[in-house]
Assembly symmetry: C2
Homo-oligomer: 171 residues x 2
Amino acid sequence: MNGAALDAASILTVERLTPPAFSPFGDVIAFGAASKVFPINHGTTMRHHGLARVEVGAGHGLISLARAEPRTLPFAVTMLERHPLGSQAFIPLSKTSYLIVVAESPEHPPRCFLATHGEGVNYHAGTWHHPLIALDQVSDFLIVDRGGDGPNCDEANLPRTWWIESATISS
Amino acid sequence: MNGAALDAASILTVERLTPPAFSPFGDVIAFGAASKVFPINHGTTMRHHGLARVEVGAGHGLISLARAEPRTLPFAVTMLERHPLGSQAFIPLSKTSYLIVVAESPEHPPRCFLATHGEGVNYHAGTWHHPLIALDQVSDFLIVDRGGDGPNCDEANLPRTWWIESATISS
């Protein structure tokens, strides 16, 4: 920041995370997002089915945990990464808010989404995305992604810096 | 119950959920259970890696949600189920306690574990287990299991009824 005001043209719009808006990049993992909902366990449980598919190619699916330090705002977006060989899902283990930054490519302006009630996301294989941007507190996430051979992480520095000014959905 | 006292020989011991105790049946998904822990995202996040592997055979991994009604105690265990073609993981989305009942086979005495701080479990393919036994409150879980063709759920009524008397770990 260096004490200077942010260039308005470099500030990302913060969008509400919805399945249609996020569909070019992946899936939203949330109650209300499933197209199939049905009872299981003799009617004691409702299953919200198939919110995301785990893409692993010739690899295998892995379940891991992550504990993320919160980031401070304004936040500079200077790089993105992608996993060409598999999907990658992050599901918060509390009702934490966090920010999601994705892009068609490192050359395209990124899009920024705010997850406000603990929704999870699943990045499709190859989706350019920023590493976790936790807010407010140390935040735990479940990760479902791919294990197996082959290089599965590309990183790209962006040709310019983008800024997230605040975690408020733009009206 | 019918007002009668439970037969002590039919009451299941409630065990603490630990990776070694649960290893014949599956994995524990919890901080502290990972053998590999390393920083990611330029040091802002610690990844607790590979707590469970998603087994899907010729199918694919699916991420779903479940909203489970709480059960009341004492609880009668009269049936178990298994998924021969894939693993099935349940990860609570809050610090909920819940009970896990598993067995070597429907003819073996089941074992009962109490998850006390929101730990998740991953049943290995073919593990006999009871459907979700949420406690105290309506509880949300993430499910990671298998989609694809082929019959993937066997149910078995047990030759006798077992009881969970209370959600207290036996000393």
